[in-house]
Every structure is written in C-alpha cells, then in structure tokens.
C-alpha cells in the first residue's frame, strides 16, 4: 500500500487590524481559497480544489493556517493564493493577504518548521526591547506558559501570542 500524498502549505494571514483575526474561521478561509482558485483557474481549478483540499488548522489568535492540497496539483492551486485580498466571515469582509511560509509533505514537518520559525522571530525581537523591564516581561510570560507536562503545541501557540504582544509594544 502506498499512502495518498498531499502537500501542506503553512500560511500566515496578514491583516491590518489584529483584532480582525479572531473573526476568522476555517470555513471562511476555505471558501476564500476556493473562490480565488475558481476565478484564476476556472472550472478546472475549482474541480481540483474540490478533491482533497481542506483547511487543516487555523489559529485565530496568530493567523496561522495549514492548507492541504493534493500533491499532483498543489502548484496550480498555490498560484491562486496571492490573489486572495479579502476573506468574508460572519457577513464581514476582512481585507487580508496570505503569506506562504513553508510547504511540507506532512503536518509534522510543518509544525516543526513553525516552532523553529517562531523561535527565530523571538530571537529577532528580543534585542529590540527597549528597556530591561520589557525583556523581563517577555521572559516572565514565556516561563508562565511553560506548564509542566503541558502540551507542546499550546506552548508554541503561547509563544506566538507573546510575539504579537511584542509587536504591539513596538
């Protein structure tokens, strides 16, 4: 037996107003992707998109999305992603764009990449803290979410939200 292969795209949703992210849900993202593919690649693209496409994971706090595409046509579907300019969710139109960070063959590799990516971001941002107090705050926040025996993913999510706070502080 050979497993059915897919490609997972790790994308971040960029919005101008961070609080808009909380309005997102996976169905809205899936609908936006499908609409973009149907516009760019017509019926053919829409048909490819209906086979094994799904939004595997959406983190509404950080705007991280995992998209699953069939392996044989992921490039075609990927090419339509830059044409997404807004996502319609709960009867609201959220202007945004998708930025693809990583393409992986499994969710596992994508997750590993995400952890690595976030630590890199954190290392980039820590020197930017202006006062010692700010640094201390960040350290405290990271330590406080390192629950003993806690879920690794939770930790990662928290790390991301730390970054966001960082962002806002700057």
């Amino acid at each position: 037996m050979v497993r059915v292969k897919s490609r997972y795209l790790l994308c971040e949703v960029n919005v101008s107003n961070r609080s808009d992210l909380l309005l997102l849900d996976d169905r809205a993202v899936a609908a936006a992707v499908k609409a973009a593919v149907a516009r760019m690649h017509g019926d053919y693209g829409a048909a490819l998109c209906s086979i094994r496409f799904s939004v595997k994971y959406l983190n509404a706090h950080t705007g991280i999305v995992f998209l699953r595409f069939p392996k044989r046509c992921y490039k075609l579907l990927w090419s339509a992603l830059p044409f997404i300019t807004s996502i319609e969710s709960r009867r609201l139109t959220i202007p945004c764009f998708l930025n693809c960070l990583h393409v992986g063959g499994t969710i596992r590799t994508c997750q590993k990449f995400l952890v690595r990516y976030n630590t890199k971001q954190l290392h980039r941002m820590l020197p930017k803290c202006k006062t010692e107090e700010e640094k201390q705050q960040v350290r405290q926040a990271i330590l406080s979410c390192c629950l003993p025996g806690g879920n690794k993913e939770e930790l990662e999510d928290d790390l991301e939200s730390e970054e966001d706070e960082e962002d806002e502080e700057e």
Binding site: R39, M40, Y44
Partner: protein
Amino acid sequence: MTSVEEAEPSGFQRVVLTNASPYQYLKIRLVLEDERSRLSDVELKSFIIAGLKSLHGEVGAALNFDVLKYDEESLTALLRVYSRGLVKLWSSLTLQGFYQNQACAFRVLQVSRFTGISSLEEPLIYLLFHVTQKKRISHFPHYCHPLP
C-alpha cells in the same frame, strides 16, 4: 528557424527545422445547430476566449493564440498556439457546447506542428523532422493517422 526551399518544379517542398517549432496549429470547424447562422472572425475569437475563461479561468483567458485563417462560409479556422497552451485550448474547445443559446460543437480537423501541409504528407514530414533531429522514433503521434 525554418528554411523553405523550392527544390524541384514537381511541387516538392523541403522544410528543414533545426530546432523544434514552438507552435502548434489547429484546424477547426465550428458546427452550429442552426446552419444558416454565421459569425465573424472577431466573434469566433471572443467565443473561444469565453470558453477558455470558463474552463481555465483568468489564466486560461490570458493564453496567447491567433486565428490565422478564417472562412466564414464553412466556419473553418486555423489557430496557432504555443505548444504549452495546446492542451488548454483544445480542452476548452471540446467543452464548448452553446453559442448564443444554440447547441454547437468544435470539430478539430487537424492538429499539427506545421502549417500548410495536408494530413497525408504529415507522417513523412514527421519522419524527416526526427531524422534531422537525430531523435529516436518511439511512436507515431496520433496525427499521423489522418483524421476524417
């Protein structure tokens, strides 16, 4: 790079291709339900583009192709398209079913890498082409069997 030289007065024409021609040529005929209706060359092209757009979206509609010849009487046209766009163009032609609410169909009469060559001569040209290119001929393409 194509060099055409008239060799003999017998009408024999020698075509030498030093590199593969980038184009494919399609000879098509539009069959309409109402046989009296006619459409101009511009209408034909816009009809084909509409078909491309519905099947392949905006990427398909941006495909480069030309209508080289068009005969309004018989609704026969000669299209030229880059080889990489052939599949898209052909598939959209096939799936074109209606023209202004009347059933229609595109009949693809001939597909070739050369223009102005009848379907009977084509296998010969194909052979010559491969000999000059020093390529091994593994199979004859479908167009070597002349379409009805």
